[in-house]
Structures are given as C-alpha cells and as structure tokens.
C-alpha cells in the first residue's frame, strides 16, 4: 500500500537524526572511557586504565555502594507507598477512582527542582519541620540529620518516584480481569490467598517496570544530593559531574558513566525477560 518513496521519506529523517544525535554521542561517551588525560590534555590512546583506577580506588567503590544502597532504599520505599495506593485506587475507590488518579498524577507534572527545593526548606535546621517540632516542644534544639544526609536524599527521591512507581502498578492492576478474582473467591480462597496467588503475580509486570525506573533514575541522580545530600550524601553521579567540571578528567567520568549505563541496560534487559515470564495472556 505504501510506495518505496513514501517509506523512505518517512523513515530516513528520524533514523538519520537519531543516529547523529543519539548514537554518535553515546558512542563518544564509550570511546572517552577508553582514552586518557595526560598533563591536562586529552590523549586518544586506547586503554583500560580508567576502569582499573575505578575498581582499585576505595573512594569510588564506597560512594558507588552508598549510591546503590540509596537507590535500593528509594525503590523499596516507593513500592511500599505506591503499591498500596494503587491497590486502594483500583479495588476500593469505586466511582472516585478517576478523580483520585488525576490527583496522584499532578505532582509528576510539577518540576523536580520545585519539589526538591520544598524538601530543602522543610528539613533544614531553620526549616519547617524543626520549627514545628520546637513549637510543640517536642524537641529543644534543631535536629541536624534531617538535611544534608543520605536520609534526606532517600526521603526526597522517594517523594519524587512514588507517583512514577504508582503509574505502571495501577495500570497492571486495572488490567487484571475481575472475573479471575471472583473465580478465586468462588473456589474458596480467602482474601490473603487471592492477593498473594492471583493479584500480586499478575501485577508483577507493572511492579517491575516501576521499580526498575525508580532504581535506575535514583542511581544516576546528581541533583538530589546537591540539593539535600551534603557531603555525606554524595552519590556516584556527583563524582562524574566533578570529573567533567573542576577536576577535568573526562575519560574517568566517562568510565563511571559507562558503568552506570551497563547496570541500567542489564537491569532493563533482565526485567524484560522477567516480564515475559510473568505476563498474562
């Protein structure tokens, strides 16, 4: 039905654009990780020394492990908050379902920076939370660890990613055919069994999608730590940022980025395989 010319006109521009402005840049990142900086100048000498330095230096591994812990905590907390919310909306909210759904979506459209800034004003020593606690005589002095700590980063990122995690879980739950659940009840299963053996497995694709998204984006986040992390809440992406900034060691920064990229793509690949196993036909 469509001529050769039509198909070419339609496919060529996006293909060429994406090749030039996505494929080439990502390839450059990869190439840089295999190059070197000597005496402040980029030397295009192919080698693996950047990766060796990464694994040998305890500073990098320490920050990296902290980053993984933070990302895992954010993912777990977002799931603990987002899943019950999605469940409530899907099964218990009845006619108010759509309206409540819109209310959950709204914060997603509000700038990341705005939400991060809000937490900054709440958690500081002179912030709203400390003011609140002192006003009600629950504490006498400002509590220091609320802000500029890994705790603050986890709190802020959980706040950002809970709606993100909610979305695919809600979609999955909505897709579960209700007759299936009735069948489970008819066969004598109590509510807990129905949940663990019917609903939860069927909502796995959504859960995995949301969890992967939250984990991967938290892993590579650098703004959160800059806003509320302080020096104890620094994450691996901040190190990349300084390597591309003041420190000027692009190859090393690129090497770390390649590692993050590798982890991300592996996780995406794994969840895709997992999804195929769990998906309901």
């Amino acid at each position: 039905m469509y001529s050769r010319a039509y198909k070419t006109v339609v496919s060529a521009p996006p293909l060429l654009w994406v090749a030039l402005f996505l494929l080439v840049p990502y390839a450059l990142m990869f190439a840089h990780s295999l190059w070197l900086v000597q005496d402040g100048v980029l030397v295009r000498h192919w080698n693996l020394s950047n990766f060796q330095r990464l694994f040998a230096n305890p500073l990098y591994t320490e920050v990296f492990l902290r980053t993984v812990r933070i990302a895992a905590s954010v993912t777990l907390c977002s799931l603990l908050l987002g899943y019950p919310l999605a469940y409530y909306l899907s099964f218990h909210a009845g006619s108010r379902k759509d309206l409540l759904y819109q209310f959950v979506i709204v914060p997603l459209w509000v700038s990341y920076l705005v939400r991060g800034y809000a937490w900054k004003t709440i958690l500081g020593s002179d912030g709203v939370l400390n003011g609140f606690l002192q006003y009600f005589h629950l504490t006498r002095e400002p509590v220091g660890f609320f802000l500029y700590s890994p705790f603050a980063v986890i709190l802020m990122l959980t706040h950002i990613y809970t709606p993100f995690v909610f979305l695919p879980i809600y979609a999955s739950l909505e897709h579960i055919p209700r007759p299936l659940i009735e069948a489970s009840q008819d066969l004598g299963a109590n509510p807990r069994s129905t949940f663990f053996r019917v609903i939860l497995p069927l909502s796995m694709p959504g859960l995995l999608a949301g969890a992967t998204f939250a984990f991967v984006l938290s892993l590579g986040d650098f703004l959160g730590p800059l806003l509320v992390g302080g020096s104890s809440g620094t994450m691996i992406a901040n190190i990349v940022q300084t390597l591309f900034g003041a420190v000027y060691d692009w190859p090393l920064g690129a090497a770390i980025s390649v590692c993050i990229l590798f982890i991300t793509l592996s996780l995406l690949f794994l969840t895709e395989r997992f999804e195929k196993r769990w998906s309901f036909k």
């Binding site: 521009p13 990142m29 002179d126 003011g131 809970t162 980025s257």
Partner: protein
Amino acid sequence: MSPKSPTRQSPLLAIYAGLVFAFIYLPIVVLILYSFNRDGVGGFPPRHFTLDWYSQLFADGSIWDSVLNSLLVAFGAVALSLVLGLLAALGLDRATFPGKALFRRLVLLPLILPGIITGLSLLMFAVFAGMQLSLLTVFLGHGTALISVATTEVFAGLQKIDRAQEEASLDLGATPWQTFWRITLPNLRLPLIAAGLLIFTLSMDEIAVTFFLIGRDNTLPLEIWSRLRRGMTPEINAVSTLIFAVSVALIIIWYRIRMRSMGSEAQQLLERP
C-alpha cells in the same frame, strides 16, 4: 463482602492511602504556604501574610528572561520532536528498514537513562562538533531526547485509525501526500496535541540534561538553581507556586484532550458497521 473488591473494605488501607496522598502533597502545600510568609522559608508557624514576594518576583527581570528562554527552547523542542516523532511513528508502523529494532530502543534511551548520561554524551558531541554551548544546544538536546514521547503517542494513535479510510482515499485517486494531509493527519490531531503538551512540560522542567548543555542564557530551572546556590528566599517559593499553578492548568487541559480522544474512539466503535 462486595463482589467487586477481593478483600474486605479495610479502613486501614484507606487511612494508609490517605497518608501516602498527604506525603505526596505535603511539600507542595508547605511551599505554597510559605510563599506568602513574610519571615522566610523556614520556622513554624508561618505568620505575617504578605504578597511582597510575588511583587518582588514580578519585578525580577532575569527570572522573566529565563522564562522567555525556556519558552523558546520548549516550543522549538515541541516542533522538532513532533515532526521527527510523527515520521518515526509512520515509519515504525508502515515500513521495514535496517536497524528498526535498534532505532526503537535507542530513541527510548534518553527517557530511561539518568539525565546526566545523556547530557554528558551530548556535551561531548557538541565539543567534538565544535559547537558553542547555548540555547541552541539545549534545544537540540531537548528535541532529540523527547522524540520518543511523540513517537509513542502517535504510534498508539495510528493503531486506532481505520486503514480503510486511507485505502479509500488512494482508490479515489488522491496522491499519498494528499491522503496524508487530509485523512491521516487530521485523525492524529489529538495524539499530536497530547504529545505536544507533554513535551512542552517536560522541556520546561528539564534540568539534568540542560545542566550540561547550557551556555550563557539560563532556562528557568537553571536560573532557579543558580539562585538556590546563593541562598533561599520566599521569592523562590513564589515562582515555584506559579510553576505549580501552570502545571495544574496544563494537566487539566491534557486530561480534557485525553477524554475527548477516548470519546471519539467510543464514537468510532459505535459507528463501525
């Protein structure tokens, strides 16, 4: 036990859901509240209601310059992403070409990867190509990264179009170009508008990729960011509140468009013989 819910209507769950909602909205409420507070962004409770921070905001020239810059970039990104996304969706739907599977994944990557990776890759590309960092590089970055938003929406929209209409048009002697303009495109109006709205919002808020591609002219998020480094004042609360208000307005419009598109879908289903 009602047949619709698999578990008892547990009040605990309702309370928990309410708490989650409160958690999601708490920072925003605090933000808005304190934008009217005379005595600063912290402390409790807020006293002395004032609109001074808003008047200070409206007199603040560099913020409005950055808003203009953001709008320029956002409209540009919408145009670029919609055109390329539309073509890509048509290509994915109707053509086979080498690298199709790779293309589909590659174009999604900027949305799934942390922004720093895409931002730095584009930075390296700009340096490699000898480009100066400026609003142009930001525009190219946003436009490229957001192509898949348009592609996904338009592709979904294409699946809902009745092919018979296009075939009939061609049979009646219209050229493929005419068919595209008069049949295909009008049917894609709603997905295109919805995608455009989403791309606009994402571009206005974008900070991670923009961070590395920005030159001398700031976009709004980066202007706010540089202010934050200097100190926090309720003026930032005021601009944040305005951003929140505009975002809510946009999502209401987007929701309306989606409802209309679902309505027209239902209508088409009813009209089909």
